[in-house]
């Protein structure tokens, strides 16, 4: 008793011949179906090259087109011939010209001999297949497909839509439950002859000849009629990409294929010389006795599909440039923006870096230059401190920075004097943590030595910009984690908000803050705001600052660094 191979071949005939010879030499008969589209001369060369082998035969040729009945006809012809001519064949293995055996043939024979009545065919009901491409699952069985998918795609798609609209339904022959699965199967003589010799076969054939991609459903459905001993999996390792095209194996997959313990793999690139030489040589006969385990290969290929469909979040590059809102994450990881903190605390940046162990930059979007951490002129990824380069594409500057520093959290300062072009981007980015002390930009003005009329003008400008920015942060589209305090509220009790922010960053020291940043003295700030008001401006973003000294008294206390128990 042995296994016989029915092989469907349409190109790379020399490779197919090599594989057929390998099987034949190991006492497995092979019947080859060669696509009628293959030129006569090439066919002659193939038959001649295998002429010395008695157990290799060629069956009637059909002209094959992907997705059509012709492929089933080809496998029927090959299987019929194999069963008829080689009576010791117990299992028929359907293979293609780009298949390659990965394990010694004897091991496959032993494996099948141990399971003499088992049919290996992936066969799943249409409700349960997630992998059909183009959404055609049950529709494959109930629609008509008179147009070629390859040559007349529009007509094909249009006709499908039309049938959907009118609710067209072909009758499925009685007793059949449509099943789908990989077209590469291995069936027992008993089951296969039952299918091929069934008196109702003309009915089934007539029905399936109009089904879409019948090679994935004909045997898969009919097997269910005649056998209950079905292992619903294919012995052939065959991976498909997101468009339903088979993945191709190359020389560099050698180790992966070896470790898969699968019996046969497809598709093999015809020029993968090392694979063919390695797996077809006689010394490749290492018996492992292991069950096929395509898991490792599955991981590699599902990763590839994920890369193609989802990509790496936060990456913008020559072959990934998502449309707005399709970024799958505007940036690659979380970061924090602080607005108004350096204005209020003298040593905020140093303090933050110390407490959170993150990379703390100054005003990255500052008007004159990019203030990278440590005053560096160039930073990760060779980004420079040129404001012109940054402002040429402010969003790219942000996404590049976050991408370049994967694994290290970035914090930076921001304010109304900075380039505001990224307002919307950061507001809509769930990776952003934005903390704002509104009106804090007035503190440096308060300390500045400029003429009061200039201060007043600048204050009005900054307030207008910050108000606009706050409107963005408060919009319904905001996905960032935004916290906003007025200056007056914040200085009432600065430790609590600071603690919340630091906790969220997830600093390594999980304890309570023991050290506060040094707050500038705000003595006279209330009066300063009153002066602005007296000049006709309305500074409202700072919150309520009383003019009088009593509150100043209280504030002097909080302005000292203090320790929370």
């Amino acid at each position: 008793m042995t296994v016989g191979f029915a092989m469907l071949v349409h190109n790379s005939l020399d490779r197919a011949a090599e594989v057929a010879r390998h099987w034949a030499r190991n006492d497995c008969p092979v019947v080859i179906h060669v696509d009628k589209k293959v030129e006569r001369r090439a066919f002659k060369t193939l038959t001649a090259s295998l002429g010395d082998l008695e157990n290799v035969k060629f069956c009637k040729r059909h002209s094959c087109e992907w997705g059509t009945w012709s492929l089933v006809e080809a496998s029927q012809s090959a299987a019929e011939m194999l069963l008829e001519e080689f009576p010791d064949v117990r299992h028929v293995y359907l293979a293609s010209g780009s298949c390659l055996p990965l394990r010694p043939v004897q091991e496959l024979k032993d494996y099948l001999a141990d399971r003499p009545m088992t049919n290996f065919i992936e066969s799943v009901t249409t409700e349960d297949v997630p992998w059909t491409v183009g959404g055609l699952d049950i529709e494959r069985f109930i629609f008509r497909f008179p147009f070629s998918w390859k040559k007349h795609r529009r007509a094909f798609d249009g006709y499908v839509r039309f049938q959907r609209r009118i609710g067209f339904k072909r009758k499925v022959p009685e007793g059949l439950t449509p099943h789908l699965g990989s077209q590469w199967w291995c069936l027992t003589r008993q089951t296969l002859t039952a299918i091929l010799e069934d008196p109702d076969r003309p009915i089934y054939d007539r029905y399936f000849s109009k089904v879409w991609i019948p090679d994935e459903s004909y045997f898969q459905t009919l097997t269910r009629l005649y056998s209950t001993n079905i292992e619903s999996r294919s012995l052939t390792l065959s991976k498909f990409d997101f468009q339903g095209k088979p993945h191709i194996f190359y020389d560099d997959h050698m180790q992966l294929l070896r470790r898969s313990d699968c019996f046969v793999a497809r598709k093999i690139w015809p020029h993968a010389n090392k694979l063919y030489a390695g797996f077809l040589s006689d010394d490749a006969s290492i018996f492992t006795g292991a069950e096929p385990n395509p898991g490792k290969i599955d991981r590699v290929f599902s990763k590839a599909v994920e890369r193609r469909t989802k990509g790496r979040p936060g990456l913008y590059m020559q072959s990934r440039f998502p449309n707005d809102n399709w970024e799958n994450g505007l940036t690659s990881s979380t970061y924090s923006i602080f607005e108004g903190f350096t204005e209020l605390f003298e040593d905020f940046e140093e303090w933050l870096a110390r407490v959170t162990q993150t990379r703390v930059h100054g005003h990255l979007y500052g008007p004159d230059r990019v203030e990278f951490a440590g005053n560096q002129k160039v930073f990760a990824g060779a980004m420079t401190d040129s404001a012109e380069l940054r402002d040429y594409n402010p969003r790219a500057f942000l996404t590049n920075l976050i991408w370049n520093t994967r694994g290290e959290r970035q914090c930076f300062m921001f304010g109304p004097a900075d380039n505001q072009d990224i307002s919307w981007d950061v507001a809509k980015d769930p990776n952003a943590q934005i903390s704002v002390i509104t009106g804090a930009w007035a503190v440096p003005l308060f300390f500045s030595n400029a003429n009061f009329s200039d201060i007043r003008r600048e204050a009005a400008r900054l307030q207008r910009i910050e108000a606009e920015h706050l409107e963005v942060l408060r919009s319904v589209w905001t996905k960032a984690r935004v916290r906003i305090w007025t200056l007056a509220d914040f200085i009432e009790n600065p430790m609590e908000p600071l603690q919340t922010i630091i906790d969220e960053i997830g600093a390594r020291q999980a304890n309570r803050l023991t050290e506060a940043p040094r707050m500038v003295s705000l003595d006279g700030f209330g009066q300063f705001l009153q002066n602005l008001k007296n000049q006709g401006m309305h500074p409202h973003l700072m919150g309520d600052f009383p003019v009088g000294p009593p509150l100043n008294e209280a504030r002097r206390k909080t302005s000292k660094p203090y320790v929370v128990k």
Partner: protein
């Protein structure tokens, strides 16, 4: 290597290139004494040659100082790539220009003929590229790298384009518009995914910044044969007077294509 035939256009060379190429069996050589600039920077020559000879072939159009790196290029030949592109019904393959430079001043290390230029210029910028979409042709417009950083920090709009589509399954009627930056019909420029995924892409390592560059920049400026009134070369010449060092402590040293893929400069897409 996986290339069946080479087509060269030689334009006023004087270093024996012509004689060397003429001897090679798999090379067809065209020589032009005419103006590179008047031929739209050589593109008219190339488009004509491809129209005539490239129909139905995969064509890699590159300058002599560009070196293609694509996913798996250390284990799979070009033929594997083009077969895969064919099987995936992909007609064009993008490969961004990656400017390579030495550590230290350009004049410090001397490049010898036949030497691997990346023995000297083996550093690059990993993450300072800026991308926009070109609405007219649908291609991406990429700028950045050491050239933007060093020569155009005050005028980034002038920084040269780095996006390239060098590998195309050519059909009569296709045409390169501006260098190999973009093509017509527009669909060929869609070498990037717009819905979050990554398409497969490569890089063209650019061996421009060698000790020969200063002389070349001066010569090119003299010839006045370059794009946009040779603005680019004027900027180079100006900076090159101080013999700059493009290297910085954040520069990356080139290892292999996998490194470029991890850094996000190129992608395997769904090729595995």
């Amino acid at each position: 290597m996986g290339v069946n035939h080479f087509i060269f256009v030689e334009n006023n060379s004087d270093d024996g290139t012509r004689e060397y190429l003429a001897e090679q069996e798999d090379v067809s050589l065209w020589t032009s004494k005419a103006s590179y600039k008047r031929a739209r920077f050589g593109m008219d020559w190339l488009n004509w040659l491809m129209r005539k000879y490239a129909n139905g072939h995969w064509c890699l159009t590159i300058d002599p100082d560009e070196f293609l790196v694509y996913p798996f290029c250390d284990t799979r030949g070009l033929r594997a790539l083009t077969d895969w592109l064919d099987a995936s019904s992909i007609k064009s393959f993008g490969s961004m220009l990656l400017d390579m430079y030495p550590k230290g001043r350009m004049s410090e290390q001397t490049y010898a003929e036949n030497q691997d230029p990346f023995e000297i210029a083996n550093w690059f910028d990993a993450g300072n590229y800026m991308i926009e979409k070109n609405p007219k042709f649908g291609n991406l417009w990429i700028q950045g790298g050491p050239r933007a950083r060093m020569f155009f920090p005050d005028n980034p709009a002038r920084a040269p384009a780095l996006n390239k589509i060098p590998l195309v399954k050519w059909q009569r009627g296709y045409t390169y518009v501006s260098s190999t930056h973009n093509l017509l019909p527009r669909g060929l420029n869609l070498v990037y995914d717009e819905w979050g995924g990554e398409k497969a892409s490569g890089c063209l390592l650019h061996a421009k910044f060698l000790h020969t560059f200063a002389d070349k920049a001066a010569e090119e400026l003299e010839r006045r044969q370059h794009y946009a009134a040779s603005h680019e070369y004027r900027a180079y010449a100006e900076k090159l007077e101080d013999d700059p060092d493009l290297w910085c402590k954040w520069s990356e040293k080139y290892i292999n294509w996998r490194q470029l893929e991890i850094l996000g400069l190129m992608s395997k897409g769904n090729w595995a």
